[in-house]
């Protein structure tokens, strides 16, 4: 095992944990992979937990789940009993399954729970209504974050049915192809006479369900692509299948020996199997409609005039004119006006700005922003749907829907190939019909059947699904296979700044000496640190909060402060142990050589003498510079599009060696979108709602780890790995995938071309065709599975 991809083993189940951040550590310092393991381990060690006493669930935070109005949208009725579907975060191994399976024992009102580990969804059905809140609070007590999912809409129901249909077609095709093979084998082995005729009719009988039932999807998708006037690989396939069928039936009636039932049924089986595989890998990820409902199901506190208290409701049911309370750390659910004295918010989701903002009474507050300090009381003006973020989301959805579908390389190639083969066939038929008309028909049709780039038709989805699988193993979720091909063509990459190129958190960076040059480990003396800590403890300013968080570790005692004075928006001063301290924001000429981004500097004065600078800001991601340099080598130009002010953006650009013309700052979400839209083959990498519009309007969008739901919906690819290195990794993966597809194209065309020529000269009998077709398939499957060196090492 590679050392950088390994942190420790789970003490309970032994599963390897790749990274420190993913590990859970309990009070005794034991390391676990998930909460399930932690709980089971506790039970086994009999640490203040027993199965008879269910986990303590005192909070009424989730009571909203049992509200009449909430149930209306979320409950599913099953045999007259209430059921609800949840998305559970953090499901890892059997221990999670076991612990969740215990819920009916703890809450007797729960009839049944069913956890689907491949989709991380949980279905709960109740004996008596009114206990969903209890189930969720139990799960929360166990450490699982749970979101209710809206009851399955038409689309999802349809998808399930479609999956069943696909699988049934595959099963029937498999059974028929197998039987046909058995009967054909004896025919090839030289069966003669009456029995041979019987066998021939049996193969026909087995081919009928394949032809009329299993191959249906190809007819339908060909019809669709013909109507949309798009080339499609289905054209040569359907052509081969239909002509093969007609020709074989014709021969059967004539009493001839040339049949293609066996080759065609195997071809259809392989095609169905590879397409099923691809659709199954794609569907593993939650569809975007799922994610939207999470955003709406946020729970918030609304003022109730009758009870004179805040009551919990789903954000979905808020109305204009409602008064709501948003606590520290929560997101604002609707646009409105602040009605309490002041509040600090983090607007980065909407604007990309790195510094927290202070809003006073009467200021506008937007949905999606996060309250950083002080609780906010808000008078709602626009509810979620009509809020600024809501409008952006709606536009995103529209744009996703209207995205022009990509005409894949395979489809394009097959278009030319089909035209080529058909014209050769016609030419041949025209000239040979003077010699022998029946032989001309036979050979032309044999050419069309053999020249169908069939192997290619199933090798492409197979290659794609293998790549998607590899990517998902590494934590990259690619929504569809098309994105892989689009990504390989990207020439311009646009990066968001806050949260994408940088960590997106406002934090303490370093101390700086008051004069002269940088010294690496400058620290103010202990006395000063204690004093700063004690003074800043009294301030609510975001800068002060950050300093307190940082200094809390270094400071040994809290000192009393006299004559404390806070000048709002300017600074703070106070006297500690007879020394007068003043903390003021300072403008500092940024050095050229430090690796972080400085958004704000605080100058510390003791008795009017400058003693130190404290630098705060947003840290650049470690892998940003390397990734951008590597992308440049691949011929991809990087740009920054940010809603932040010019100075911090310039700063980032300078450190990443980006050209000046590729930097855009102070952009609104709409402006980002137009900018990106102007460039063909563009890639947008971002994390916030302000990027989501751009993500949906450019050719491909990647959402990095820690993104908000809105951008997950808009993005084609989501990386659950930290940093922006995945962008490079994914680009390489897509380029390699495409090169395998191209290689398969070449192999397939060489084979088809030779076989076609041989068929024209009459050298190919159905027996040889029956051998050649699977051989070509196997060659291409081997080529696909072997892949490239990069692909083989991808998961190592």
């Amino acid at each position: 095992m590679c050392s950088q991809n390994y942190y420790s083993d789970c003490i309970h189940c032994g599963k390897a944990i790749a990274k420190k951040e993913n590990a859970l550590v309990n009070d005794n310092g034991n390391i676990f992979c998930c909460w399930g393991c932690e709980t089971v381990y506790k039970i086994l060690k009999k640490e203040h937990f027993s199965l008879i006493n269910k986990p303590h669930t005192g909070s009424s935070e989730y009571d909203i789940l049992d509200n009449e109005s909430f149930l209306k949208d979320y409950v599913v009725l099953q045999d007259g009993k209430q059921g609800m579907r949840f998305f559970v975060e953090g499901i890892q191994c059997t221990a999670c399954l076991w612990i969740i399976d215990q819920i009916p024992h703890w809450i007797p009102e729960v009839e049944n729970v069913h956890l689907n580990m491949s989709q991380n969804t949980l279905f709960v059905s109740l004996r008596t209504p009114g206990f969903f809140g209890k189930v969720v609070s139990t799960l929360a007590a166990l450490g699982y974050k749970t979101y209710p999912i809206k009851n399955p809409d038409e689309a999802r129901h349809f998808q399930k049915k479609e999956n069943h249909q696909q699988l049934m077609r595959l099963g029937v095709a498999g059974a028929c192809a197998g039987s046909i093979m058995l009967y054909s084998f004896s025919l090839y082995a030289g069966l003669k006479g009456q029995m041979a005729v019987v066998f021939q009719y049996i193969t026909l009988a087995f081919f009928l369900p394949v032809f009329f039932y299993c191959a249906q999807p190809f007819y339908i998708s060909l019809w669709r692509s013909l109507r949309a006037r798009r080339p499609s690989i289905d054209l040569p396939i359907v052509l081969a299948v239909v002509i093969g069928f007609v020709l074989s039936v014709f021969h059967l009636i004539q009493g001839r020996q040339d049949f293609y039932f066996d080759s065609l049924s195997v071809l259809i089986l392989l095609l169905l199997a590879s397409r099923y595989l691809l659709s199954r890998t794609q569907q593993k990820f939650l569809s975007s409609s799922y994610l939207l409902s999470f955003f709406e199901s946020q729970i918030c506190r609304r003022w109730n005039e009758v009870h004179q208290a805040y009551e919990k409701v789903s954000a979905h049911y808020l109305n204009t004119g409602d008064k709501i309370l948003v606590e520290e750390g929560e997101r604002v659910p609707a646009d409105g006006e602040v009605i309490n004295e002041w509040v600090n918010i983090n607007p980065s989701v909407l604007t990309g700005e790195s510094l927290p903002q202070k809003l006073f009474k009467g200021a506008k507050i937007y949905a999606g922003t996060q309250v950083v300090s002080n609780d906010a009381e808000i008078l709602i003006e626009h509810t979620a749907g009509s809020s600024r973020i809501g409008k952006i989301l709606k536009k995103v959805e529209e744009q996703i829907y209207n995205k022009t579908p990509l005409i894949s390389l395979t489809d394009k190639a097959s278009q030319y190939f089909t035209l080529f083969i058909l014209s050769i066939g016609l030419l041949f038929f025209f000239f040979y019909s003077f010699v022998d008309i029946t032989e001309a028909v036979r050979r032309t049709l044999a050419l069309i059947i053999l020249a169908c780039p069939c192997a290619l038709a199933f090798a492409t989805p197979l290659t794609q699904s293998l790549s998607l699988k590899k990517a998902s193993k590494k934590g990259y979720l690619i929504k569809n296979a098309e994105s892989l091909e689009k990504l390989s063509k990207v020439t311009n990459a646009f990066f968001d700044k806050t949260g994408t190129l940088t960590q997106g958190q406002f934090e303490f960076l370093q101390w700086r000496p008051p004069h002269g040059n940088e010294s690496d480990n400058f620290m103010p003396d202990k006395e000063t640190i204690n004093a700063i800590y004690s003074i800043e403890l009294h301030s609510q300013h975001p800068v002060a909060r950050t300093l307190v968080k940082q200094l809390g570790k270094m400071c040994d005692k809290k000192l009393p402060v006299h004559s404390l004075k806070e000048i709002s928006g300017v600074g703070i001063s106070g006297t500690v142990e007879n020394n007068h301290y003043k903390l003021l924001p300072a403008l500092l000429d940024n050095g050229n050589d430090d690796s972080d981004i400085i958004a704000s500097t605080v100058a510390v004065y003791r008795n009017e003498i400058l003693v130190a600078y404290a630098c705060l800001g947003d840290r650049l991601r470690d892998d940003a510079k390397k990734t951008i340099a590597e992308l440049k080598k691949l011929g991809i130009t990087s740009h920054i599009v940010s809603g932040d002010k010019e100075a911090p953006v310039q700063n980032v650009a300078k450190r990443l060696d980006l050209a000046n013309d590729g930097i855009h700052s102070g952009l609104f979400p709409e402006e980002k979108s137009t900018l990106v839209n102007k460039v063909p083959n563009s890639l947008m990498v971002g994390d916030g709602v302000n990027d989501s519009l751009a993500m949906s309007s450019c050719s491909i969008g990647i959402a990095v780890q820690g993104s908000v739901e809105a951008s997950l919906v808009a993005a084609d690819i989501y990386s659950s790995k930290e940093g922006i290195f995945p962008v490079l990794d994914l680009t390489l993966l897509s380029k390699n995938t495409l090169s395998i597809i191209k290689r398969n194209l070449v192999i397939s065309f060489i084979y088809n071309f030779t076989a076609g020529i041989a068929a024209l000269f009459g050298y190919i009998s159905p027996l040889i065709a029956a051998v050649l077709m699977p051989v070509s398939s196997i060659v291409i499957i081997i080529s696909t599975i072997t892949g490239t060196k990069f692909m083989r090492n991808f998961n190592k």
Partner: protein, 50 residues
Amino acid sequence: MTILYIMIPVAIILASFFVYTFLWAVKNEQFDDLETPAHKILIDDWNRKS
């Protein structure tokens, strides 16, 4: 060779039986979740016995 007149119908009946069973299993959602049952088998039933 006459045995074939019996064997072929038997083979066809067997094949259609398996196809029918497969279709029944698909409709019964047996293939919808391939991961969870694999884990479920590892869990002992001690909870119910006690």
